[in-house]
Symmetry: C2
Subunit: 110 residues, 2 copies
Amino acid sequence: MKPLHHPRAEDLSIYAVLHALAEPARMTIVRRLVEADGKPCGTFGINLSKSTLSAHFKVLREAGIIRQEVAAGNSRVNTLRREELDARFPGLLDSIVHAVEQSEPALPPV
Amino acid sequence: MKPLHHPRAEDLSIYAVLHALAEPARMTIVRRLVEADGKPCGTFGINLSKSTLSAHFKVLREAGIIRQEVAAGNSRVNTLRREELDARFPGLLDSIVHAVEQSEPALPPV
C-alpha cells in the first residue's frame, strides 16, 4: 500500500494549520492526541460517520498537524507532529489548544 | 446609520477567530492594525476589490477580532479588539501573528 502523503515541516502553511484547527471535530482529534498520542482512527470518541471523520483526518494530515501510518489490518495510527510544529510555529499549538480548553468543557474519557 | 454588530467578548468563538485568521488578506489586515491601530478601510495596501475587502473586514468584525466604527463621510475606521481578545484567549493573537511574521516577508509600507 502506498504511504500517505505528508508535507515537509518546512513547507507547512500557517493558513492551512489555522484552517485545519478552525473546526470542532478536528480540534477534538488534536486534543485527544495531546492527551494520548498514537491512536487508531476509530478511537477518538467522535460521533461522525467514518467517511466524514476520514475527511477530517485528511485535512489535519495535509496541513502537517498529524502523521498517519498504516498499521495492522489497514487501520491508520495517528500521531501529532508536535516537535515539527513547535519548531516551525513556536507556541502556536499550545496557545490554540489552551484557548479551546478554556472555552469548552473537558473531553469525556474514551 | 445603524451601528455595526459586534459580538460581546464573552461570546467570541475560538473557531470563528481561527477561521477568520486562516486567510492571507484578513491576516494582512490584522498585521496592519498591529503596526498602527485605527485605520480606515481604504488604507491597508491590499490589492483587492472594495467589495471583496469589505467581506474580509466583515468576517474579522463578526469573529470579534476588529471593531468597525463609522467615521466622517461614511468611511469605517478599524481597530483591533486586542485587550478583549487577549483576555479571552491569552497569548493566541501574538503567537499567530508571530508565526505569520516568521513565515512571510515583512509587509511593505503603505
